[in-house]
Symmetry: C2
Subunit: 465 residues, 2 copies
């Protein structure tokens, strides 16, 4: 076990101030507080925050941190929901937001070379300006960075057709503890020389090193898209409907699901009575199709025909400017959940696609057994269901009940051949469950691999495996 530094000495502080002049180094308690948490609301105070502007500073920082056994927590916009960026052992938080130069989008090579602090939506916009497409589309795309997306292997809406972040990363440059610089992969769309260290970094949660440059693969921007919001009388028909669409040979670029409770929460909100969904709908599917105009039109026909035998109670197709309207329901879901209860545990289990019905049904019953409402919605197309355990922690015993329900839902996911996290990761809040799911042998292998890059385990320590 590493004997970590236990506080920031005056010499440490002097080193950091020297390496990161001006506001590149934050040491004041009020300045540090902003970096103590992320979207998980877990909290731990770092001893220092630094803001590198280039690779050279990161090299010096990690040479020093390795020698000093200083915990190092990479961070960008802090949109992670599991405390992945929370500095649980104190140490130094490294904000990558100043490494955010203009992405280099190459329309001949079909790649973008991008620094980690660039907002993913900005990268997508830079690509779209040249008729190119970077498909991964996590819900946080307008706020989160490409560095954070790669570190966590972000998923999102379009994964059902286009895969997750992992599938789009061609190369990385990373600085390792001790200051070594690793360049893996590159601008070639194919490369099978050596072990695949590039993808090992994807989803490694800042535990192998700090990425300073990322090369992603691009494809031509689809010409158009269209969407359909489809209401069903019950859960079973909606899930059967999704299966029918896939069996009809249609591969949507999004296939989202909302259960009864979720729809009720949406209807309780402003404008909730004029959403483009029949009142009788107790479950809904939202599909997006992309491609050429004629291709999308043909796929939409097949999709609607495939759903017909399930007797949908409403079908609202959105094309062109009307497309956004059918998405408004889905976008309003996350805030709407708080109309059910003031607090939620938002989990993102994933199960084999054919087990989603069982997972949703059993998750709801687990909630009931604890006297709690469980809302399920999310990325049905890839079996990645966001399970929201709504509760009111101001009531005695309720927070505990919610956590017990979450534990049961995690075990349910594993029992169904799934995983406790489809896309949020495990970070701090699910660290012990991650180790349980993986088993001792796999955890030992992962720690072994980590130590090859980070022998003293200074990178994002305290997060399991």
């Amino acid at each position: 076990m590493t004997e970590y530094a236990t506080f920031l000495t005056a010499a440490h502080a002097a080193f950091l101030r020297d390496l990161f002049p001006g506001d590149g180094c934050v040491l004041s308690p009020e300045g540090l507080a902003a970096f103590s948490t992320d979207a998980s609301r877990e909290r731990a105070m770092p001893w220092a925050v630094v803001r590198p502007q280039g690779r050279a500073q990161v090299v010096e920082l990690l040479r020093w941190a390795d020698a000093e056994r200083m915990p190092v927590y990479g961070r960008a916009r802090g949109t992670g929901r599991v405390g992945g960026a929370v500095p649980s052992l104190g140490g130094v938080v490294v904000s990558m937001l100043r490494m955010a130069g203009e992405p280099v989008v190459d329309a001949d090579d079909f790649v973008a070379v991008v620094q980690p602090g660039v907002i993913t939506a900005d990268l997508q916009a830079a690509c779209a300006a040249k008729g190119l497409f970077y498909p991964p589309d996590p819900a946080s795309v307008r706020f989160s960075t490409i560095g954070g997306n790669v570190a966590t292997c972000a998923g999102g809406l379009r994964a059902v057709k286009y895969g997750v972040t992992r599938d789009w990363v061609l190369g990385i440059e990373a600085v390792l503890p001790g200051g070594r610089v690793l360049r893996a992969g590159g601008r070639s769309h194919k490369d099978v020389v050596g072990l695949d260290l590039t993808r090992l970094f994807v989803g490694s949660n800042g535990r192998l090193g700090l990425m300073t440059e990322i090369i992603v693969k691009l494809i031509p921007l689809p010409e158009t898209s269209a969407s359909a919001l489809v209401g069903f009388a019950d859960l079973a028909s909606s899930l059967a409907g999704a299966g029918a669409v896939f069996r009809a040979g249609v591969l949507p670029s999004a296939c989202e699901f909302m259960d009864q409770g979720t729809l009720e929460a949406v209807r309780m909100g402003p404008g909730g009575d004029c959403i483009p969904l029949a009142q009788g709908a107790r479950a809904a599917l939202l599909f997006k199709l992309d491609g050429t105009g004629p291709g999308v039109a043909a796929e939409m026909d097949r999709l609607i025909a495939a759903l017909a035998p399930l007797g949908p109670v409403s079908v609202e197709v959105g094309r062109g400017e009307a497309e956004e309207a059918v998405w408004a329901v889905r976008r309003s879901v996350s805030p709407a959940t708080f109309r059910i209860a003031p607090d939620k545990l938002a989990e993102d289990i994933a199960v084999p696609r054919g087990r989603v019905a069982e997972a949703v049904e059993r998750a709801r019953r687990i909630g009931q057994a604890h006297g709690l409402t469980v809302l399920c919605f999310g990325h049905l197309g890839d079996g990645n269901i966001h399970v929201n355990i709504m509760h009111d922690r101001s009531q005695p015993g309720v927070a505990d009940a919610a956590h017990r329900a979450a534990d049961e839902i995690f075990r349910l996911a594993v029992e169904l051949g799934g995983t406790i996290s489809g896309e949020h990761g495990t970070g701090l809040t699910k660290a012990s469950f991650a180790d349980e799911q993986l088993g001792r042998d796999a955890v030992e292998l992962m720690r072994g691999v980590r130590r090859v890059f980070d022998p003293h385990e200074i990178m994002n320590p305290g997060k399991g495996w």
Copy 2:
């Protein structure tokens, strides 16, 4: 450095005969000879060959081999071109061909669970029978196995649209030296718990362990496809044409290229004067589009319109039963090359897509400087060019000249920001170049990672990194 076993003792032989009864263990020289080589024509005699029928035997084998420091070479159909399966230090070859049970294709989960010895085309057929699609399509698909494809991260024709083998593997079961069993990933389409050991195995060339089960992701089988063979007056227009197609927003499922010398070789063969390509064509592109009928038709219109400004000398579109005819040219390329010279070095460099023109032109000039014909063809869409150095090794000095030309072409690929192998791997024949491309630091990290799984480096030793 491991002190490997240097020969097979009587006790070793007895152990293997006991664990693999009957013809499950091969020890006769004539029996062993068949396992001494692969499509590289490199050769080294193993001391024993075993044919496990299930995981339990593999566990016992690797427990024993680790203790005995016995080199272990996993192998399937031996279609690899770089000696990846050649037992360069002797030891035991493990043929995985008897682990080839019927693939379990699950049309609800959209996954297939498959044993490593299953032929990839058989897996694809089992999927197609249920309207499902496993896209990776290496040229060897009718002969090579899914285990070999995963071990080498096979690429192929459809990678431009669908990615390579890596992008389709959701989970693996592997036996590690010492007999530990690793299960990584699973049937969930999304999973971000822990380090990504699943993809670390993809392309690991049998150097981390022996895979005993593979879970792949499936998508709906496209409804139809159509292809177009397009001739150009010169190399530059053909490469510009490919760029124009991508810029028009069309993402073909294949985008193949053939240069002048390649077309001449094809024309020299039987039926060569009636290929569906204008006589004046000095370069050709071959596109495949897939999707719904109307979608493919619309994309074909856009594709042809995008090419028009480049003035193609012929455009032959193949639809339905006529589609195969336009592919006959491409399929005849590999045997046709031998009409130019009796021997070839077939390399598969990949470069950033925008550098293909320069790569092809300079590769040809490198050949000329050595008095050799270099034929270029292959997967233009992802920058993966098969460079064939034709020569006659019966002439004095010519084999050496061919190897010198290959060395220069490898360095050219790296200079252009590419890689010495897009899909064949580096195995035995390119081991030293692999280490040169990767650099000492990356090689050290890869060896470190290998040792986590295989502390005594018994798995496929003698192949660089």
